[in-house]
Structures are given as structure tokens and as C-alpha cells.
Symmetry: C2
Subunit: 366 residues, 2 copies
């Protein structure tokens, strides 16, 4: 059996909603309101200005953000933000910025930040194999830090914060690449949020940045234009040719979230049901499927697990592929099995996976 | 009448070949050899590694380049290269790099380069309103310059070089964004060529960089990873999630160039026919359609012109839109009319435009 989009549990780029894919398919030949292929429309057209504006408005509406936040649609992925954040906020500062190392991705941020200035790793999960997140009493937030940086959801280990960290008087910067727009997130408590699109909100190639205007008051003025938040803001994300296609698809996903799903509270409820089903399957498996993450820190987006042996894991991947599932291999850094259940993955798909897991376990226990 | 893809003379993002659009349309729901939507396939899959490899191979084959050149597929557009080039080649150098200012785009490069080091503007067309390109005897190339930078085709003014500039002993860096893969270009005489995709070779969101291995010997080692050519080379353009979709479409365009068009010599011949038809229409119009560019420097990609009055230009745009043409407005920096005739624009489309131009002139002269 061929892999099915509806059973694509990829860690990213992730599956997109079918209703969005159908609209995109039409737009490849002709965007209805324009008459041209989406791939051949000028980024200086009125149509594209309206696309950017509606995408911004939809993101603001979904998160309940006011005009004190700018919404940017940039290139370069979260990786570009690993550098843009400290280039903007760390250079010339006295005190170090505080960073949390809670897994693979927050670890990737650290060397890039260190190239730009002094940072302090406030807490690291390295000694516990990134199996859990820190408790509040393990975190000594400094009042002097120019900002606090953390990653809200670690895709590789399947860890997710269920609370907002840090002090109200120190700017919070958060990499929400893998759970942005999957649930309400108290966005107004953050100074800067960034998220690449390719998990929950669109194709690879565009990154959403929300930034509070006041945060940029003392930003350096000698940065390359494309790395300068202020110049990007002034240009309405159209400083140079933006990734028109990826932004258009992101617009369609935000419309889907607003008008089909009915907002982030509804999306959260569906995502919780999906995660609950899968974790129940783990917990009912008598140790056959072992979650990587400590129970209180389990991610609603990425269910990372191991099986009793590598041979069983390989059999699981082979048999699930034959059944039409895809994307279930764990991240190359850790191996094992991972089911990524981003917004577009349906409850039905998760039900089918849990049934497959039960069958597989039954067959391989006997 | 609605605008037609086949009559889309946009300055960029430009039209793509119809046979490519049909394949892309299918891939939105299902890439045939994978079974999944191209928007939901992992960038770490074997399939995507093969996409990158074949795109590189096709570009090498089209240009006759050997393995001493790396082919990179990056984000950030030509604008990112405006900075990456001097970050890599200019920092710490004694002598200034030499830059040519031949139009709007080569002018945009200068402030970004100056942020990174000392540059000399070897020649500027500003005093002649960028109506022509320099002759050889106007250019004093320095043997000490770390590199020479120029733009092969200026889209706004419609100027294009018909020769390779500079000395053999000084690395040539060329922004070929608007004529890359439109003709043979003696690529082996350049040390670094960059080109965003959205004119001739794909959708906005990906930029091709060809760089000679030897050029990077003394490159700095303290650049952010995504701005470091060496790290991008080591990661095979997969340092962080690349723009999978834009790269896939670029692959399809390179296949079209190789297997349908039959290579760059053929493409060049078609492009010359298209340009000849249009310039003939200008030259036969008794000054009604006036080209911006001096005759010897006329671009094969962008035919920029003015009409006797702004009112006539507006009438031209309105009437051509009613006839199904689009993208004919000149760049916002200069106004007027511009027909961009990139690879995917057919000879038939250009014939229809010249017929329209003749009709329009006849009607508005009487």
C-alpha cells in the first residue's frame, strides 16, 4: 500500500489539511481571484499585499494580539532566528542572556547565540538524557538578563512546556516552531516568538516572527537589511522577494484554523484528544511502547517512544509502512519511533495508529 | 478577459513552463514516486536527497561545470548573497573589492557590501540614468581587489552584459538572478555565481549559488552557520529545513531545460528570437515605443520602454490587461512599460504582444 497523506506522521515538514491542499492545487494553475498561477504573481501586486495583511490579521486574531506586536513572515527558518535574536538583543549588553537547554533543538541554538555575545545556560537536561523538563524551583531567573530564551516544544524528545517561564520584567523569547498555533499560548506574555511554518502552519520556507515593538528600541542599526527586524517591519515582510507560495499556503492554513476548526481553543481540544489516545496506548502496553518523556512533560505534538529492541522498531516501521503509515521513524539523533501529531493530523488517523500499535504488539508478544 | 499564465510578462516572480505547472499540481496531492504531498515530505528523506542531487547534477550539466564547483540551494534571495559574499571574501582584506553600479539592482548591493568592508565603485551609470553599460576602456580592473562584483542583467533598466568582465587573476562574483540558465554563460570563468530562482528557474524562496571550492580557503570560521558557505556545502544544502517545495519545482524546471528545451544553447536561441521580435517592434514604431537601454546593451530578458506620455502608458496597461496580458507595468522605481520574457514565456506569447503593440499604436496615432 502506498503511504497516505492522511496517515503522514512526519516530524516535519508535516502534513497539511486536505482542504488546504485542494485549494493549493487549484492555485498552482490559477489563483481564483487573480487568474494566474500562484508561482507567477508579483510580490509587489495588490493581491500579495492583501495576502500578507490577512495572514498577519489571522495570526493576531487567533492569538488575541494587539497592534503592539509586529507580525513578520521571513525566510531562513528558526535557524536564522537563532542568530537574529542575539544579533539584535545581545550585542553590547553587560549581563548574559539566559538560555534553557531542554533537548536537541534548544541545544542547537547555543553555539549560534555564543557567536553574538555572552549567554548563560540556566538549566540543561543533558545529564538526564533530556527525559524531562525543569521544575520551577530549578530555575533561577535573573533580573539582569537582556532576555530569556527557551523552546516551547522539543520535537526530538517529545517534551513540551505547559506553562510560561520566566519573569515578567525580563523579555521572553520563545522558539515555538513545533507548537505554534496548536493551542492558545498566552502570546502577550512574550516579547518575541518565532516559528517556522513546516509543522503546524504551512510548508517549509517561511518563518513567522511576532515581536513587541518596544523590544526593538535599542536594536543595532548596522545589521544587514534582511537580518534587521526594523527594516523587515518597515517593508511589511517585503524587503526583498518573499517566499510568495509558502506565505499563501500559510494564509490558507490560518483561514482553516479560524473558519473550519474554529480557533485555537478548539484546535487544542482536538490535539489533546489525539495525544491522550496515543499516550493511553503507551500506558496500556505494559512497557512494550516506552515513552521517552517524563509523564508531566509529555508533548501534545510529538509522541517519542522506544520498543523493546531495535529489531522490533525496524519491524514496526516496515509493517506500518505497508499499512499506509509514514513518517514514524524517530529523529536521526535518537532513533526509535516517533508519531508527530500536528494540527492537520486527524483524530481518525491517530485512532488507526493506536489500533495498528495494539495489533503489532499482540503479534510480536506471542 | 482574465489574465493568462501564457501571457504573463511579469518581472518576477515570473511565469513557469506549463508542463512544469501540471507536474507541480499533481505533486501537491501526491509526488508520484513517493505517494505523499510534496508539502509533507521530510527534508531528511532519501527522496529529497535525490531531488537535491539531481538538481545539482542538472545545473552542472546545463553549464558544463566540473566538481571544482559546489552547487548550493539556499534561502534569503539574492539579498542574502549581497551580504554573504562580502562577509566571506571582504572581511580582513587590505584592498577594496571592486563593484560595478549599472542599475537599480547593482545599486542595492553597495550599502550591504559597505557594512562588511571596503569597496570601490569601479564604474557607475548613475550620471547617464543607467541607460547604457560601460565599455572595456572605461573599466580599470585592479589586480589587488579581493574580487570583482557585477550584475549580469539589470531587470529594471533592461541592460545586459554580452561578455564576461574582469581579469582572469581576480575572482569574479556575479549576480545572475535574472538571466541564470537563460543562455550559456561561461560559468567556469566565475568564482561565485548567485541567482534567486524566481525569474527563469523556479518559484521565489530558493537561491542557487555556484562557488569554486578554492575561493573559500580563507573564509572566516565565525559566521552564523546558515551564512557560512562551507557549512552549507558540508550539509549538502540541508543544514536546516530547506525550502523543499521551491527546490522540487526548480528540479522540474532544470529537467524541462535539459530534456524538453534541449539545453542552454537552444534556450538562448529561443530567447534571442523573442527579444529580436520585441526590439524590432520598438525600432519599427517610429519612436512610439522607446527602449530605455542603449541598443548594444539591450537585455534579452527585460524589454523596458516608455510611450509618448504617461496617459498612453496607462491606456496601454489597461487595454493589454483586457486582452489577457499581465505584468507589463515597468518597475515601480522607474515606471513605464516592461515586458519580461524569461525562459518560460513562449515565442507565440511574444508574437501576440508585438501584434497588440502594433494595434495599440495604430489606434492611438490616429
Amino acid at each position: 500500500m502506498k503511504p497516505l497523506n492522511s496517515l503522514n506522521f512526519s516530524g516535519g515538514p508535516g502534513a497539511l489539511p486536505e482542504s488546504v491542499l485542494l485549494q493549493v492545487q487549484q492555485a498552482i494553475l490559477e489563483v481564483p481571484e487573480v487568474g494566474l498561477s500562484v508561482l507567477g504573481i508579483s510580490h509587489r501586486s495588490d493581491w500579495f499585499a492583501a495576502v500578507v495583511q490577512e495572514t498577519e490579521d489571522n495570526i493576531r486574531a487567533l492569538l488575541g494580539l494587539d497592534a503592539s506586536y509586529h507580525v513578520l513572515l521571513l525566510q531562513g527558518g528558526a535557524t536564522q532566528q537563532f542568530s537574529m535574536v542575539p544579533m539584535t538583543l545581545l550585542r553590547g549588553q553587560q549581563a548574559p542572556a539566559q538560555y534553557l537547554q531542554t533537548g536537541y533543538w534548544s541545544g542547537k541554538v547555543l553555539p549560534e547565540a555564543r557567536l553574538q555575545g555572552d549567554i548563560e545556560v540556566l538549566w540543561s537536561g543533558q545529564s538526564c538524557g533530556f527525559s524531562r523538563l525543569p521544575a520551577d524551583d530549578e530555575l533561577a531567573f535573573s533580573a539582569d538578563a537582556p532576555y530569556l530564551h527557551y523552546v516551547s516544544n522539543e520535537t526530538v524528545e517529545g517534551l513540551q512546556f505547559n506553562r510560561v517561564l520566566g519573569r515578567e520584567d525580563v523579555p521572553r523569547v520563545c522558539d515555538m516552531s513545533s507548537d505554534f498555533l496548536s493551542r492558545p499560548c498566552e502570546a502577550e506574555r512574550f516579547a518575541l516568538i518565532y516559528a517556522h511554518a513546516q509543522k503546524n502552519i504551512g510548508p517549509a520556507g517561511v518563518t513567522v516572527v511576532l515581536v513587541k515593538d518596544a523590544l526593538l528600541q535599542d536594536a543595532p542599526t548596522d545589521l544587514p537589511a534582511f537580518l534587521d527586524y526594523k527594516q523587515q517591519i518597515k517593508a511589511h515582510s517585503n524587503l526583498n522577494t518573499p517566499p510568495v507560495f509558502s506565505i499563501y499556503v500559510t494564509l490558507l492554513v490560518t483561514r482553516w484554523l479560524l473558519h473550519e476548526v474554529g480557533g485555537l481553543a478548539n484546535m487544542d481540544q482536538i490535539n489533546r484528544q489525539k495525544a491522550a489516545l496515543l499516550y493511553q496506548a503507551l500506558d496500556d502496553s505494559e512497557g512494550f511502547y516506552r515513552g521517552r518523556a517524563a509523564v508531566p512533560d509529555r508533548s501534545l505534538m510529538n509522541v517519542a517512544m522506544t520498543l523493546p529492541s531495535v529489531a522490533l522498531e525496524q519491524a514496526f516501521l516496515a509493517e506500518s509502512a505497508l499499512a499506509g503509515f509514514s513518517g514514524l521513524a524517530g529523529h536521526r539523533a535518537v532513533g526509535g519511533i516517533r508519531a508527530s501529531i500536528y494540527n492537520a493530523l486527524s483524530l481518525t488517523a491517530v485512532q488507526r495508529l493506536t489500533e495498528f500499535m495494539q495489533d503489532f504488539r499482540r503479534q510480536h508478544l506471542s
